[in-house]
């Protein structure tokens, strides 16, 4: 009794200062170090850069990089291509997010049932996700070109100019490509979440006379809500950061910038044109935008 009485206040003090499991700090330390090294430091540099007329210089070179305050940010809001790229992100999200959530949840539910060939189907839907963009973009270009297979099959109803170089279709094509490519990953997330729904909930639903559709709506959908939050947030992030697709699939954000993305614009201004300060400002705005959208999503999807 006496020893417990003596150590208790000290333990409580430690607990108050460091939490119940101070060893947790040790556990996350290597990862935290990694975050600082690979993200925080370069990110800090990026934020710093966004307030300067910053460009990359050779080591030891004496160059002038004047402080410009919020100039880079005000320039961004008057930059027609940047604004267009934001519009393209909206188009992307409007197509990609609902399609992704709906398809992956339905597919996961179907694949979770005891079906023949289940393994084959899972593989089929997952393969696009595990394959390199470099590898699959080649075949998409070929399929959707002017004389490609898709247009050969469609004949007279094929759009002209063809899909990837059509001002109207280029952006939706990117959204479809991303949905196709990413879907398998989200299916797996949902499959994992479905495992955690107790089967007695389904039993109870069927006792109450609920059909498959009804139990999907009243048991499955609420049961996987945390996974849905994750799916929506992750696909929003993909939507804000897409780069390879407009770069390779639509020939550099074409036609006439109708599929330009903020990251592609950033890459052009920062790396091609050497205006790293301005590119950094776009990056910062983009990151803020994604954080806000994610928080709103989380709030809407997780409230009870």
């Amino acid at each position: 009794m006496a020893t417990i009485a003596a150590t208790a206040p000290r333990a409580r003090r430690i607990r108050r200062a460091l939490g119940r499991h101070p060893v947790g700090l040790l556990f996350v330390l290597p990862y935290a170090a990694f975050l600082v090294l690979v993200y925080a430091y370069p990110l800090g540099l990026a934020v710093y850069m966004s307030f300067y007329d910053y460009f990359f210089a050779a080591p030891g070179a004496v160059v002038e990089r004047p402080f410009v305050g919020f100039d880079n940010y005000t320039t961004a809001f008057g930059d027609a291509i940047f604004l267009e790229s934001l519009g393209n992100v909206v188009t992307f999200l409007v197509i990609n997010v609902p399609l992704t959530v709906a398809l992956s949840l339905v597919l996961a539910t179907a694949l979770n049932a005891k079906l023949p060939l289940r393994g084959f189907f899972r593989t089929a839907y997952y393969i696009p996700y595990v394959t390199a963009s470099v590898a699959v973009i080649g075949v998409w270009l070929w399929l959707f070109s002017d004389t490609g297979l898709v247009n050969s099959a469609l004949g007279p109803v094929a759009p002209a100019p063809p899909w990837l170089v059509n001002e109207f279709w280029a952006m939706p094509m990117i959204a479809f490509f991303a949905t196709w490519k990413q879907l398998g990953f989200y299916v797996v997330l949902y499959l994992a979440a479905l495992q955690n729904i107790p089967s007695d909930l389904y039993d109870a639903a069927s006792v109450d006379g609920a059909g498959a559709l009804k139990s999907f709506r009243h048991v499955t959908v609420p049961g996987v809500r945390p996974a849905t939050t994750l799916v929506v947030i992750l696909s929003t992030i993909v939507g804000a950061n897409f780069f390879t697709e407009p770069y390779l699939l639509t020939g550099g954000g074409g036609p006439n910038n109708s599929s330009v993305s903020p990251v592609l614009h950033m890459y052009r201004r920062g790396i091609e044109q050497g205006d790293a300060g301005y590119a950094a400002a776009i990056g910062v705005l983009l990151a803020i935008g994604v954080i806000v959208i994610s928080m709103v999503n989380r709030f809407i999807l997780e409230r009870d």
Binding site: P30, A33, F34, V36, L37, Y41, L45, F55, F56, A57, A58, P59, G60, A61, V62, V63, I81, L141, W142, S145, D146, P161, P162, V165, N166, E167, Y247, G251, G252, G253, G254, P255, N256, N257, V260, R268, R269, I271, E272, Q273, G274, D275
Partner: protein, 436 residues
């Protein structure tokens, strides 16, 4: 955090120390740049990069081998430029990382002002014999490669004078004169283009990439603009030149090309000319090696509104320079090697290996043996006497992107009249190039 003075470069130390030490190192890394005074005279091993096409690699390897045999103490290590999305991006990353090689035989003049601003390039004029060497070798065109302050931050090396390549078989199919094709004036060109579409069985008369990369204008608008104006660059003395009557005339020509469907508004995933989807292409002499065997081709200068005789027509040079990068420590060796690699003999070897034109005046006299043996290259060599480069100005790439966006919007996609779009772009560009 931004000026790093302490040395922390030992690879072994870092690998052994692990993540935490790396963290500490983040606060105090860095490397000092070479001291210019000392470096200018220093000799010793150097690294160089050359372009990544097989012909230039073969040339580069040969020159390096020769040099190393003669100069065992100053060994040159050559390799092809690490291939990437653009060479400029690779070079820029290498500049900021401080590990650029001594010489890059693939430096685009449009990127030189940016590299210079970054402190990435050595002013060759610091070598006492550089100005005279460059001006003697290059002739009058050398002035086009000088920085506004008068220094040479690049050594003009080779050009690919841009001309119109055409497919004789398709011209004959369309009932056109394949030996003297009517392509001299804008009107003739448009009419010929229409005939090719109607009778020649091609999808496009000519198919320049309608995409938005900053450099695409070098292969549609710019050569015709240079021809129209007899050799005026896009910007001269801080004034944009393209919103002039001549510029708008060229814009009108291309507008009609796109409006009448003589060129497609979408990019072709492949080689439109090589696959005979288009009857003409805007190319340099490199095209002879690429198409020479599969296509019966002819070549003419780019058209002008009223028609200019070939021997008076100017065009875009599509030149590549050699840059010496400031990370180079043994600049004495680098400069000697640069001179050696651009000697008359080695320029001849370059011409022989690649068909690209060394930046020397009167190529047909200097290398008469070559042109006697390879007469098909002669039109390009003659065209090389009338070339215009991209202007050496601040924010050069941003300027080209601004122009490209305006051109794409107005000429290719017809969203706006060039009469409105070009003066707007001219204003923006003038403020860009004056931002010193």
């Amino acid at each position: 955090m931004l000026t790093h003075k302490k040395r922390f470069t030992k690879r072994g130390r870092v690998t052994a120390a692990g993540l935490l030490l790396l963290l500490v190192a983040a606060a105090c890394g860095g490397e000092e740049a070479a001291d210019p005074q000392q470096a200018a005279e220093a000799t010793g091993p150097i690294k160089i990069w050359y372009s990544n096409n097989p012909e230039e690699i073969a040339w580069g390897e040969k020159i390096v081998k020769q040099w190393n045999a003669d100069n065992p103490d100053e060994e040159v290590t050559g390799q092809e430029i690490p291939a990437g999305e653009t060479s400029e991006e690779v070079i820029q990353a290498a500049i900021s990382a401080g590990n650029a090689p001594c010489l890059v035989y693939n430096t685009a003049p449009a990127a030189v002002p940016q590299f210079q601003k970054q402190g990435g390039l050595v002013n060759l004029s610091d070598f006492p014999d550089a100005d005279s060497y460059i001006e003697e070798r290059t002739g009058a065109d050398a002035a086009q490669y000088q920085s506004p302050e008068g220094g040479y931050y690049q050594m003009p090396w080779k050009t690919n004078p841009v001309m119109i390549f055409y497919n004789k078989k398709i011209f004959e199919q369309a009932g056109l004169d394949a030996e003297n094709p009517p392509l001299t004036t804008h009107d003739e060109f448009l009419e010929t283009g229409q005939t090719l579409i109607d009778e020649g069985g091609v999808e496009a008369a000519i198919w320049p990439a309608p995409t938005s990369e900053f450099f695409q204008s070098w292969f549609d608008f710019y050569p015709l603009f240079i021809a129209e104006t007899g050799g005026t660059p896009l910007v001269e003395d801080g004034q944009a030149q393209f919103a002039s009557d001549a510029g708008l005339q060229v814009a009108d020509f291309w507008s009609q090309i796109y409006e009448n469907g003589l060129a497609k508004k979408e990019a072709y995933n492949g080689d439109a000319f090589g696959e005979e989807k288009s009857a003409m292409a805007i190319v340099g002499p490199w095209a002879i090696a690429v198409y020479g065997e599969s296509i019966d081709w002819g070549v003419v200068p780019v058209p002008t509104a009223d028609g200019t005789p070939p021997e008076e027509t100017f065009t875009f040079s599509d030149e590549k320079s050699v840059g010496m990068y400031s990370a180079c420590e043994n600049r004495g060796t680098a400069w000697e090697f640069l001179k050696e690699s651009t000697s008359e003999a080695n320029d001849g070897a370059l011409l022989d290996a690649t068909g690209q034109m060394p930046t020397r005046p009167n190529l047909t006299d200097t290398f008469s043996d070559y042109f006697d043996k390879n007469p098909e290259y002669t039109p390009f060599a003659e065209q090389a006497n009338r070339l215009q480069e991209v202007p050496v100005v601040e924010n050069s790439i941003e300027m080209w992107q601004t122009f490209r966006d305006s051109y794409s919007q107005s000429v290719i996609f017809g969203k706006q009249s060039p009469d409105d779009a070009f003066p707007e772009a001219a204003d923006q560009i003038e403020s860009l190039v004056s931002e010193g």
